[in-house]
Symmetry: C2
Subunit: 161 residues, 2 copies
Amino acid sequence: MGKLVDMTATSDSVNARCSISRGLEVLGERWMLLIVREAMNGFTRFADFRERLGVAPDVLSDRLAKLVDHGLLATRAYREPGQRERLEYVLTPAGRDLVPVLAAIAAWGDVHVPTGFGPATVFADESSGTPARLAFVDAAGNELPVEAIRFTPGPGSLSRR
Amino acid sequence: MGKLVDMTATSDSVNARCSISRGLEVLGERWMLLIVREAMNGFTRFADFRERLGVAPDVLSDRLAKLVDHGLLATRAYREPGQRERLEYVLTPAGRDLVPVLAAIAAWGDVHVPTGFGPATVFADESSGTPARLAFVDAAGNELPVEAIRFTPGPGSLSRR
């Protein structure tokens, strides 16, 4: 039993059970989320991503392939008049679900690494145009003060402390 | 004027103005946010981070130094009886402000890379124990449907579209 406890307490297991770690295994590279940002801006084509991001073509190819592998982007064939068929990249629902991740990073960046020009990206309700910000809420949707929010081990935790 | 427009339209400028990109320049590496996760779990010491994360010591030293450079962790001296003085690492307010970023990544990971054991980390109001989830809200704190949230260029954007 001692051995089992030792084994389950290894850092690998802690990370394997942690959704933050698992999320970062997919997302934890700057270009990945910047490609997703451009996909959310409506861009779908290799040349657009390359131009918008200033990323080397081989790096872009690699990251697009990873995003497709992980199910964040899906490929779709298109053909411009007189050109060969090419692939474009469109967000899947899993990719779309990264909106709060990008909003959280943007909100942090606006405060802690500001440009002095104000936010370059804001988030808004598409139908009404109402500006939207991220907040912690309770089950009923009532806002909770962010300063009071703490981590607590969940049902999937190896070590409820 | 054409030249000015060309220059400001370069991808470097788009990224320089983007708080997502600027945030990721600080955060865009898996170990950085996992160290912050452990700091939020209350760990402060090199040996604790190393054991919890299973990260190579040289990588951990490098990432801790970066986190201190970027102002997310601050060092504090401590001395165990009979030992030399050592440094421990404590979250700064800027580091603490990453709670929503980690919560957003965790929520995405729980849905899209689940372990089958449920969330390992949940977020809760410290005083009441009320479980907390991230949501988009309007200025008055009323929840907005996440499906309707879109990017729109903000005041710091180079290209309001």
